[in-house]
């Protein structure tokens, strides 16, 4: 093992802490859609923003037969309006064709990595990005381990494995996947991507909560009546019918995106905004979520599937009429649920969650509904338009924060009504935030796991979702229907109205 490299004195003060160190990025599944659509444009953006090292190479691995030049052409085609640095990145790229179960694939990969490192002057920092179906995660990790690519060549370099959701289909399979990956990679080397966490506005939840003294004192059961989390999509399953049939809204959205937003909303202030501080608190928050009993699932969870209807001015088919979908499918495209969190801060505060496809609009938001005033001194007629305060964190689109509060209507009478103070990030800063993949790819290469999901977070998220899946398997919860283009089934309204509350109309 060599001595650690001394600091680069010329880097001091240039804020190069976000620039990736010299190294190679190996994309397994390089001929696939994710690589062309997301990863290569993200790498190009990093190159354009001068956040890639000069000693940098990309290696593609996939079953599709391609030459090095063929892969370079694929890289060029994926980014039609590339900046001047992209040709340098493309020039140093290589491609390995092979089956993931074939040891030769990985011995060839090891040789190719050495060749690229010698070519560009990289020292052994290696990031393996598995842009493949989850079914091959284990075999690829084993393949990398079989030729020693799971370990860095020197003390001053690092090897990281990036994997995409879904992380298992349930708690058992998630743990099996973890055990399989941990045979070859340490937990610190594994970077689980949920691209939601790469969104600037999800990170802004942390900024809003922990950079402002005015919100945190109100962020608890004493002031908050309930929380509503909405993740709505206006699209149907499009061309992903085959995949969606095996997933459903609970696995596709709730287990990961919703649980991440939920944990950021419920977590305690971390000691420091770093990977361990944030992830420890997120895990603690998820651990406090009450595991739904079979009765809870029957009463507090609604599953539904969209029927035909009208969406954004167009007649759209029912889910069961979508391509690659079973005409008798029982897969849910909508979930609404009530969760409770048993801890000092949130005891007794219901958290209402709803997510679905073919809802009236695409949006993600967290709404904190505050208690009403203890005594409303205004007459009923004067305050009929007044509702309790609400703080809404809009995550997408039109990212921002809105606060609803009462104000006097100008005039002789003392009428009060709601007004919305609405701050839009887009009207404060027009700078384009980095795309989620760009941010997360750089974080993985830099070695910052803050925005990646730790094994115990995955475990805790499944712990909440698993009992719901179990109950559904027993068909204890009927599948409701809702017309495409509406906010969900009547049963979802009843779920919240039972508690004398209502869904927001975002």
């Amino acid at each position: 093992m060599s001595d650690p490299l001394p600091e680069n004195p010329l880097a001091e003060g240039i804020e190069v802490d976000r620039r990736a160190p010299p190294g190679v990025l190996v994309v397994v599944g390089a001929s696939g859609d994710l690589t062309a659509r997301k990863l290569l444009p993200a790498i190009e953006q990093l190159s354009r923003r001068r956040l890639l090292p000069q000693a940098f190479g990309v290696i593609g691995v996939a079953r599709t037969e391609l030459t090095d030049d063929g892969f370079r052409q694929l890289m060029t085609d994926a980014v039609p309006d590339s900046g001047p640095g992209w040709s340098e990145v493309v020039k140093h790229s290589r491609y390995v064709t092979g089956e993931y179960g074939d040891p030769v694939t990985f011995s060839t990969l090891a040789e190719t990595i050495s060749a690229v490192e010698a070519d560009v002057g990289a020292a052994g920092n290696r990031t393996f990005y598995l842009a493949t179906i989850p079914a091959v995660f284990e075999v690829v990790a084993d393949g990398l381990g079989s030729v020693g690519l799971n370990r860095p060549p020197t003390d001053s370099t690092a090897v990281r494995l990036v994997i995409e959701k879904p992380f298992g289909r349930d708690l058992g399979s998630a743990r099996e996947l973890d055990a399989a990956l941990h045979r070859t990679f340490d937990e610190e080397q594994i970077y689980r991507i949920d691209h939601y966490l790469g969104k600037e506005t999800v990170q802004n939840v942390l900024a809003l909560r922990f950079a402002n003294a005015i919100f945190e004192p109100l962020w608890n059961r004493s002031y908050i009546d309930h929380v509503q989390i909405t993740v709505a999509e206006s699209l149907g399953v499009e061309k992903r019918g085959g995949f969606y049939e095996t997933a459903g809204a609970l696995r596709d959205i709730v287990q990961n995106h919703v649980m991440q937003v939920l944990s950021l909303t419920l977590m305690e202030p971390p000691g420091s905004i770093d990977a361990q501080g944030i992830r420890d608190e997120k895990v603690k928050a998820l651990r406090s979520v009450v595991i739904p009993s079979p009765d809870d699932v029957r009463n507090d969870v609604v599953r539904a599937q969209y029927d035909s209807g009208w969406s954004e001015g167009k007649a759209v088919p029912a889910y069961r009429e979508e391509p690659d979908v079973d005409p008798a499918s029982q897969t849910e495209t909508y979930v609404a649920m009530k969760l409770m969190c048993d801890n000092w801060r949130w005891a007794g505060v219901p958290i209402y969650i709803r997510t679905g496809k073919r809802l009236p609009k695409r949006l993600t938001e967290v709404a904190l509904q505050f208690h009403g005033v203890p005594h409303l001194a205004f007459g009923k007629a004067e305050s009929r338009d007044l509702r309790p305060n609400a703080l809404v964190l809009r995550i997408q689109p039109d990212e921002g924060v809105a606060l609803r509060f009462g104000a006097k209507v100008p005039g002789q009478a003392f009428n009060v009504r709601d007004v919305l103070m609405d701050m839009s990030y887009g009207s404060a800063f027009m700078e384009d935030a980095p795309e989620a993949y760009e941010r997360l790819l750089l974080d993985a290469m830099v070695g910052d796991p803050t925005l990646f999901i730790r094994s115990d977070e995955v475990d805790q998220a499944w712990r909440v979702v698993d009992p719901i899946l179990d109950a559904w398997q027993g068909r204890a919860v009927p599948l409701a229907g809702y017309a495409a283009g509406t906010w969900g089934p009547r049963q979802a309204d009843q779920l919240i109205e039972r508690d004398d509350r209502q869904w927001r109309t975002p």
Partner: protein, 333 residues
């Protein structure tokens, strides 16, 4: 370092006055804002008050163009001061409301106040600025093409002062800037503008194969205008410890850096140069028996607005710049 977008703010409404009192400008600005609200203009979001001191017409034109283009990055109230202490006492003003529409259907509204100040009052600009500063937000004061006197009362209003060390290129002037920097938060636009060169050069030494050469630099050649080349020389001297006598500074239109290292009878070269006729710089390292490292980067289309935008992102003292400036005062051409 982000580039500035191309969206042009549009004037929504304006007011002008000559031979007026300051309170009339304040009232006129408030009226303009009220009227724009009547027309359902978007709410204003601001992050600072931006003050520019630009006595000459050309300076004022250049400054306002650059400042307006910052609205998407640093939504601010702009106060342009045009002092003329040698003329008769008078106050002229123009207050303008601007709107900048983004591609995403967002609108940023901002105000610009231009004050022409004649007579002795022009030596007390702080008394004009205070009426327009946004409450509780930083005040950045940009001295366009000049370096302020340490006794300038406007300095007391400023959270940070923007200057360009290109306007104070010789060692004596640089020492004055350094003195000022020790008392106030100074941000140097030259330093910000040179960042692409510094970044690219620094990155050439990231790979383990090239890092050891930093301890064996034999010659350092820097070309460019006097201020920038001196500043880069000071930076390299301060950060690497390379002796002043090994640093050669030469006049040229564009900045370039050429380093040569020698050890064990071998030579390695590291260069960062601008491509002739293009807004592009190329960095290259040639190591004996090693790979050639090469990378290219585009320079911003609007260097003034881009360097301003980046300078305003970091309104705090920069000890690396101060060290570079200090070392630069000891360098000779």
């Amino acid at each position: 370092m982000s580039d500035i977008g191309t969206a042009e703010p549009q004037s929504v409404d304006y007011w002008t006055g000559e031979g007026i009192r300051l309170s009339e400008v304040v009232d006129a600005l408030a009226d303009l804002r009220d009227q724009s609200t009547d027309h359902h203009s978007s709410a204003r979001t601001a992050v600072m008050t931006l003050v520019a001191v630009a006595p000459g017409d050309e300076q004022a034109y250049e400054a306002t163009g650059a400042l307006r283009s910052l609205a998407g990055h640093h939504p601010s109230r702009i106060v342009l001061l045009r002092p003329d202490p040698d003329s008769v006492a008078h106050l002229g003003a123009r207050a303008t409301l601007y709107a900048l529409d983004s591609d995403h259907h967002h609108r940023i509204n901002f105000e610009e106040v231009m004050l022409e100040i004649g007579g002795q009052a022009a030596r007390h600009l702080d008394s004009f600025v205070e009426a327009f500063t946004l409450s509780d937000l930083p005040v950045a004061v940009w001295y366009v093409n000049s370096i302020p006197e340490p006794s300038d009362p406007l300095l007391s209003v400023a959270t940070a002062i923007l200057i360009d060390s290109r306007d104070a290129p010789d060692p004596g002037q640089l020492r004055s800037v350094l003195q000022l920097a020790r008392r106030r938060t100074l941000v140097d636009l030259s330093w910000t503008r040179l960042r692409p060169w510094r970044e690219l050069l620094s990155a050439l030494f990231d790979p383990p194969a090239s890092r050891p050469w930093l301890d064996h630099l034999d010659t350092v050649e820097i070309t460019g205008k006097e201020g920038p080349r001196r500043l880069l020389g000071g930076w390299l001297s301060a950060q690497t410890g390379v002796s002043h006598r090994r640093i050669s500074l030469q006049d040229a239109r564009h900045v370039s850096i050429r380093l040569a290292g020698r050890r064990d009878g071998q030579t390695a070269t590291f260069t960062v140069e601008r491509v002739d006729g293009q807004r592009m710089i190329v960095a290259e390292a040639n190591l004996p028996d090693g790979p050639t490292l090469r990378s290219t980067n585009l320079l911003p289309d609007d260097p003034l607005a881009t360097s301003l935008a980046n300078a305003l992102t970091h309104l705090r003292p920069d000890p690396i710049w101060e060290r570079a400036l200090s070392a630069a005062t000891a360098l000779v051409d």
